[in-house]
């Protein structure tokens, strides 16, 4: 993981992002289903309905952040696992470091 060349594929990340965005958008629509009129009126114009997109550099940055995040998570979990004398990182190891990890990022 320390290999600087190994990165997340931006396309993959973008695809994931889009997936999440579309889901959230759907949820939002559900939640805002009360006023369908508005939706119809501004179907094409309202920014709300425009799909979120990511700038290329933002995407790149996201990939890097994710990379760092994953590395950190794995390393921390690994230390826990090592301390337990286990060679394999289990989910429990991750759970142990997760709260602080999330707060660190």
């Amino acid at each position: 993981m320390d290999n600087a060349n190994t990165r997340f594929d931006p396309d993959l990340i973008h695809a994931i992002f889009k997936l999440v965005w579309s889901r959230t958008a759907l949820e939002r629509e559900k939640n805002e289903g009360a006023d369908p009129l508005e939706c119809e009126v501004g179907a094409a114009t309202s920014k709300k309905n425009r799909p979120t997109s990511a700038n290329a550099n933002a995407l790149k940055l996201s990939c890097e952040l994710l990379r760092v995040f994953v590395i950190e998570a794995v390393e921390r979990a690994a230390t826990i696992a090592e301390a337990e004398g286990v060679n394999k990182i289990e989910a429990t190891h991750l759970e142990r470091i997760l709260p602080q990890l999330l707060l660190d990022f």
């Binding site: 590395i71 991750l94 759970e95 990890l101 707060l103 660190d104």
Partner: protein, 1413 residues
């Protein structure tokens, strides 16, 4: 060109040099230019000159570039022009070759054209789709190479084309994208100015080029190459022409490469282009040329003649009727020659009108001019409508007519023309009938047939129409024909009345979608005719035929690019058909002109060779590696595409299983990591890899610790929040609290209560120590302790409250304490208890003060007479308490008061000093101090009342007095330190401390460092103060111990406290490492820890050194006094020595964490061995607990250890001094057990945490520490046993003989306790990995120190007695292993002790003390 004119003037030997030596291009240029333009004439001589120059340069081997030669040799007057040339350097190495890419299959015509274009200004006339762009790209690339600073411009007439060409050029030759930029009108001029400077290859629109040249932001002098795409536009005043004119006026030599598929429909227009662009060579190929034909795809051009519809014919006839009278009138005037209404065209009319305007017929009166003009205008409009009618249908014609009828001269003239109205009605009728346009229906047929024959997915069709109106008609028609046709329009930007234009963005989107297959039919106006490179187009329909052959060729060029294409021209019978035929014939003649490079038909201009003649570039075929083009719109131009590694590795079965396990393929039950699964882990910082813990994480940790009640940090936090205690104090308090808590087992206590309880306990312990010193019974102590523990909650809470209230609290506390003591213990005990409580109160007060940290707190502490130390630290408070106790015991209230007064005075003095420092603070402090003093005095009185002094107590009282003195000094120091701290940065420090304290409290050593640096500064003062406090504390502890052991223990404690204090501050700033080092200050640990500490905080160590030095000095004095008084002869000397040593040690520890410290520690230990041992035990336990609790927080451990040490020392001292050992034994044991029990869980957790904590260093240090602690504990056990003996011996001296056994018992008990602790620890450790490490280390150490261990073991055995046996032996086992580490220290200490021994020979304890110490 301008630069060449002077040449002409100076040198006009044109014909002397022939072009033999000149290069072919130049020759051609010269020859061709001869006849025509003046410019060419000017150039000729120069060219010849150049060639001749070249002739005699090359033999001479002259290196200077041609341009320079020129200037120097001939044209000194024309420096300006030559400067422009000079500034472009030729890369001599690159100029040896020119590169032709072979990434795409080589085409001979491209190669030859490229070769020509490299060395002369060339107009490339290549049919569409034959790769003009490649030629341009290769030329650009080579100029890019040859002229490292030269700038290259590629001009294309529209933005889409610019974008298309920049990508095409990049894909052909791969000019690095960081050098290329596209600039259109959308780029702001200021930005363009920067780009002109920064970039080297520009893809621009001609308008931008023109403007930038005119405004001067284009660095004209650096231009070396200008590529003009769609050069047939370079007519008239088009931007191409003006730009080139500007460039020619400027003294610039540059290569011009013009590209077009359709140079012109007439010979003259081609000549104009050649003139405008200063072309030297025309490279013309057509589809039939032998070198081109293989690459030309078959293109079937079908001309379909469409009969006009019936309606249209009718309307046409009506229109002709409208037209006729006007034509007749014009003819009558003699302005119009042609009388054939059918064949007249708007063009003819325009020409006639122009003629009329230039030379109106003489016969015509002036009055008629306007009338004729009106007729012309009307006729032109009518013919236009007629043309529309024939070629596009009725609807456009009708719209045109309607528009014209609405306003303007035409409306005025024709509004009453009935025939026209009739025509209009016919149109409307026909439109309302919905009669289809025959062209439209024909076109639809063609389209349907086409899509039947071709896959609609892959086939692309472009329909060209000249008018937007007809585009709309076509779109309407296409909408009806079904699914297979997905059509869209592609029109220009301008918005007319009828239709809204498409923005360029929309245009781009349309093209992209068209390429991708979203549309398969585009209906385009002329905007789609040029340059669009869409490979898949296999059908082009020209909806109107009567257009210029240029445009027809361009239209046809849209297809047949990749494979065969088909062009359908829909021509309406009649005029349109005729016009089409005429224009086709026209274009054929033009082609003839262009044969053979057009040499016979056109006049060419000369052009510079650009590359000096000494360079004769050879063609080099290179396969260029071209990076993927990154469109600017989507991704930053400068950032390279991310090479997305395509992971070819497939998941192994195991991995797949894991995935299936956690991300079940069902998707319904996905494993979600729990954030609350391991709350205990969140109380301690996890090890980090590269990302340090954030502030929020620290908050989380603190909060978790707080919630779990385990953590010291939580207590400290609460303290901070409540009282704003100084970090050092907090640390001490925290550690104390932790210990107390562990001992108390009151984990459930609130933090505040726990904190209070802890300090109270500490103080109680101290008080117990004092009491012991005062020869109080061990039982009482134990009871008191128990009581305190039991009652602890309430009293502690009370003290806290009192603290918060500050004024009445002490009294109440004392009362409550007394009550408790009364209730719990006997009469004596109550006294002790009261003392303890008093001390506790004081400590509490001090704690409160400490919490406040501000000066006022200190004064308050001071007020509590001996407890004035509290201001500086709880240690001082303890000392004061001890003193007070001593005084109370020995001298009584008066002495205590006097002492207190002295202390107060001192405090006041210090306070005054502080006041000078900070008036406001001082005042407040004074007030506080006064109030507190009163309270304290009350408390003291109470204490005095209660205490029952023993004989020994008087001695102790003396010592206490001494200690008081000593305390005063420490107090001063502490006060000073506190003052300094408070004065300097109370609020910031407090905040910092709080923050840091909160964070560091929990064991985040790692996280500490990052935070520590910034905080270190703040900490430094704090640290100093804490160190002082600690030293004071130590001193007090020593004083309490009056006996050598006590002193030694005090020293040890001092060391430890100092170290702890140091640690605590350090820890807060991330001094954890140092803290660790200080913790090790107990010698064994020190070695291991110190290095780490050093590594972590050098600066801190320095600060600490300073502080330690001060502290040590103060401590020395105090110690001396105390020791002298207490021990008198032998004890004093030893004490002094030990004190000195101790003092040195702390400093040494501070300064030299690793090497020096251990040695000194050893010395100290040697003297203080018993104490050290005890402390070591305590420390070990504490460490274990702390370690267990805080994985990484060595600081806490250290603090705990120090506190433990202090406690232990106190206990030991009391035990040693006290005679109530027996009774107290059980109690003590119970207490210890409780504490152990309480600690044990904590320890377990800590151990786990340690295990988990990934920090290698930290675990190592911990292990080593634990090992050392274990060894220490063992030693301490031995020592304690020894001490017990010693203490017993001492006790007899000081106290009664009875006391001796008791004391001995008590130490034994302590030892037992220690042992039990050790055992527990050992068990825990054994269970945990670290324990193993520790054991190993211990073993190693043990091997080296076996001798010492043996000695100790012997002593222990001797001392062990029945009491100790079980625990002791168990402890010994562990200890034996562990003891080895301490052995070295002990040896040293033994040496010291040996020295001391003779002095204290009588008291067997002295050697034991030494050992213990």
């Amino acid at each position: 060109m301008a630069s060449t004119t002077p040449h002409l003037i100076t040198v006009d030997d044109d014909d002397e040099f022939d072009w033999e030596a000149a290069f072919r291009e130049i020759d051609v240029a010269c020859q061709t230019t001869k006849p025509s333009i003046s410019c060419s004439d000017n150039n000729k001589p120069r060219l010849s000159k150049q060639s001749t120059l070249d002739n005699f340069i090359s033999p001479a081997g002259a290196v200077p570039p041609l341009e320079n030669w020129d200037t120097l040799d001939r044209d000194k007057s024309n420096l300006v022009g030559d400067e422009g040339l000079c500034c472009i350097d030729v890369d001599a190495e690159a100029a040896k070759t020119w590169i032709y890419p072979v990434n795409v299959p080589l085409r001979k015509y491209q190669l030859s054209i490229t070769k020509t274009a490299l060395f002369s200004n060339t107009l490339v006339a290549l049919p569409t789709g034959l790769g003009k762009t490649l030629i341009a790209a290769v030329v650009m690339y080579n100029y890019f190479r040859w002229f490292p600073e030269g700038k290259i411009v590629f001009a294309a007439p529209s933005r889409p084309l610019v974008m298309q060409q920049i990508e095409a050029c990049h894909n052909i030759v791969g000019i690095p994208q960081e050098w290329t930029i596209d600039m259109t009108g959308q780029t702001s001029p200021t930005r363009r100015a920067g780009l002109w400077k920064a970039k080297r290859v520009f893809f621009v629109t001609p308008q931008v080029l023109e403007k930038d040249i005119q405004s001067g932001i284009c660095l004209v002098k650096y231009l070396v190459c200008l590529v003009i795409d769609e050069a047939h536009r370079a007519l008239g005043n088009y931007s191409y022409c003006t730009a080139v004119r500007e460039l020619m006026v400027a003294p610039v030599q540059l290569r011009i490469l013009a590209l077009t598929a359709t140079p012109g429909s007439k010979q003259q227009s081609i000549q104009n282009i050649i003139d405008n662009l200063h072309i030297s060579t025309l490279e013309y190929r057509n589809e039939s040329d032998h070198d081109v034909s293989p690459y030309v795809h078959n293109r079937n051009v079908e001309l379909i003649e469409v009969a006009m519809g019936q309606d249209a014919i009718e309307i046409n006839n009506v229109l002709l009727e409208v037209i006729r009278p006007f034509v007749i009138r014009l003819c009558a005037v003699g302005v119009l020659q042609n009388r054939d209404l059918q064949t007249l065209s708007p063009c003819d009319l325009l020409n006639s009108r122009d003629k009329f305007r230039q030379a109106p017929p003489l016969a015509l009166p002036h009055m008629k001019y306007g009338e004729v003009e009106g007729y012309f205008g009307a006729l032109i409009t009518l013919y236009h409508i007629r043309k529309l009618l024939s070629s596009h249908g009725i609807r456009p014609a009708h719209e045109m007519l309607e528009e014209k009828m609405r306003q303007g001269p035409f409306a005025r003239l024709m509004s009453k023309n009935e025939v026209l109205w009739k025509a209009k009605c016919l149109m409307q009728q026909s439109l309302s009938n919905g009669t289809p346009n025959p062209k439209l229906s024909k076109m639809l047929d063609i389209l349907i047939d086409h899509f039947k024959a071709n896959n609609p997915q892959n086939s692309r069709v472009i329909i060209f129409s000249n008018f937007r109106g007809s585009v709309r008609d076509i779109m309407d028609a296409l909408a009806k024909i079904g699914e297979s046709v997905k059509a869209t329009q592609f029109i220009g930007q301008s918005s007319g009345k009828a239709s809204k234009g498409q923005s360029q963005k929309v245009q781009q989107a349309v093209l992209e979608k068209f390429r991708a297959g979203g549309f398969n039919v585009i209906v385009a106006t002329s905007i789609g005719e040029e340059g669009l490179d869409i490979m898949e187009v296999d059908l082009v329909i020209c909806f109107d035929a009567n257009i210029s052959p240029l445009r027809m060729i361009q239209r046809m060029g849209r297809t047949g690019r990749k494979h065969d294409g088909r062009v359908v021209v829909l021509a309406c019978e009649g005029s349109e058909m005729k016009g089409y035929m005429r224009k086709q014939a026209n274009s054929k003649t033009v082609r003839k002109h262009m044969r053979n490079g057009g040499m016979n038909s056109f006049n060419f201009h000369s052009s510079p060779r650009m590359i000096p003649h000494i360079f004769k570039p050879e063609v080099q075929f290179v396969e260029l590696s071209i990076e993927q083009f990154v469109p600017r719109g989507r991704k930053g131009k400068d950032d390279h595409p991310i090479q997305a590694p395509i992971s070819t590795d497939k998941l192994t079965n195991v991995e797949t299983e894991v995935l299936a396990k956690y991300f079940g393929t069902t998707g319904k039950i996905t494993w979600r990591p729990s954030l609350i699964a391991f709350p205990p882990f969140q109380a301690f910082p996890t090890g980090v890899h590269k990302i340090p813990h954030s502030f929020r994480t620290e908050i989380l940790i603190d909060m978790m610790q707080h919630l779990q009640g385990l953590s010291f940090s939580g207590n400290s936090k609460t303290f901070f929040v409540e009282g704003e205690v100084s970090t050092n104090e907090h640390l001490g308090v925290e550690t104390v609290e932790q210990y107390d808590k562990s001992r108390m087992g009151n984990i459930t206590f609130n933090n505040s209560n726990g904190l209070c309880n802890k300090p109270c306990v500490f103080r109680k312990d101290e008080a117990s120590m004092d009491e012991h010193l005062a020869v109080e019974t061990v039982e009482q102590h134990e009871e008191s302790r128990k009581d305190s523990i039991i009652f602890g909650d309430s009293p502690k809470a009370q003290p806290i409250r009192e603290l918060s209230y500050s004024e009445e609290s002490p009294i109440r506390n004392t009362k409550t304490k007394e009550k408790h003591s009364m209730s719990s213990s006997q009469g004596n005990n109550p006294h002790v208890h009261s003392y303890l409580f008093g001390s506790d109160f004081v400590s509490v007060d001090t704690l409160g003060n400490v919490l406040i940290l501000s000066v006022p707190l200190i004064p308050s502490k001071e007020v509590s007479h001996s407890k004035c130390a509290s201001a500086s630290s709880s240690m001082l408070l303890n000392c004061l308490k001890q003193d007070s106790c001593h005084s109370g015991t020995s001298q009584g209230q008066h002495k205590g008061q006097s002492m207190e007064e002295k202390a107060v005075a001192n405090l006041r003095t210090s306070g005054q000093a502080r006041c000078t420092m900070d008036e406001t603070l001082l005042i407040s402090k004074l007030h506080y101090s006064l109030g507190q003093q009163e309270k304290k005095l009350d408390g003291v009185e109470e204490i005095v009342q209660t205490p029952i002094l023993k004989g020994s107590l008087s001695h102790e009282g003396d010592t206490a007095v001494e200690t008081l003195v000593a305390n005063k000094t420490p107090i001063f120091l502490a006060a000073e330190s506190s003052d300094d701290i408070g004065d300097t940065d109370l609020s910031p420090r407090l905040t910092n401390l709080i923050k840091s304290g909160v964070v560091p409290e929990s064991p985040i050593n790692e996280s500490g460092p990052s935070n520590g640096r910034p905080r270190n500064e703040f900490l430094v003062p704090d640290l100093v103060s804490p160190a002082k406090v600690l030293s004071e504390m130590l001193l007090t502890g020593k004083n309490e111990k009056v006996t050598l052991d006590v002193s030694t223990s005090g020293q040890d404690t001092l060391n430890s406290p100092i170290s702890n204090g140091m640690h605590s501050p350090i820890l807060r700033p991330d001094i954890s490492a140092k803290a660790r080092g200080s913790n090790p200050s107990s010698p064994i640990v020190e070695e291991v820890k110190t290095p780490l500490a050093n590594l972590t905080n050098n600066s801190c160590s320095k600060d600490w050194h300073l502080s330690s030095g001060d502290k040590s000095a103060s401590v020395k004095q105090e110690r001396k006094f105390k020791r002298l008084r207490k021990y008198g002869d032998t004890g004093q000397r030893r004490n002094m020595k030990s004190m000195k040593e101790n003092s040195i040690d702390p400093s040494g520890n501070l300064a030299e964490t690793s090497s020096i410290i251990p040695i000194r520690n050893k010395h100290n230990r040697g003297k203080q061995k018993p104490v050290d041992n005890v402390r070591a035990f305590i420390e070990e336990e504490a460490e274990v607990s702390s370690e267990a609790e805080v994985s990484d927080d060595e600081e806490d451990d250290q603090n705990n250890n120090s506190y433990d040490d202090s406690f232990i020392d106190d206990r030991i001292d009391p035990t040693a001094t006290s005679t109530q050992a027996e009774d107290s034994r059980s109690d003590m044991m119970a207490i210890y057990r409780r504490s152990l029990l309480s600690q044990s869980p904590v320890v377990r957790q800590p151990n786990f945490s340690a295990d988990f904590s990934p920090c290698t260093l930290a675990p190592m240090t911990r292990i080593t520490e634990t090992g050392s602690s274990l060894s220490k504990t063992t030693y301490s056990l031995n020592q304690s046993s020894e001490r017990n003996t010693v203490s017993i011996q001492i006790n007899p001296e000081i106290i009664s003989s009875e006391a001796i056994p008791l004391t001995s018992v008590s130490p034994r008990e302590n030892e037992r306790k220690l042992e039990s602790r050790k055992r527990k620890l050992g068990i825990y450790q054994g269970g945990s990995v670290p324990a193993i490490n520790l054991e190993r280390q211990f073993q190693l150490e043990a091997a080296s120190k076996e001798s010492s261990l043996q000695h100790q073991a012997e002593k222990i055995e001797t001392n062990g007695d029945v009491f100790y046996d079980d625990q002791f032996y168990e402890g010994l086992d562990l200890d034996a292993v562990e003891a080895q580490a301490t052995m070295l220290l002990r040896h040293k200490s033994e040496l010291f002790t040996q020295k001391q021994d003779p002095q204290s020979l009588d008291l067997f304890g002295s050697p034991t003390f030494d050992l213990g110490i």
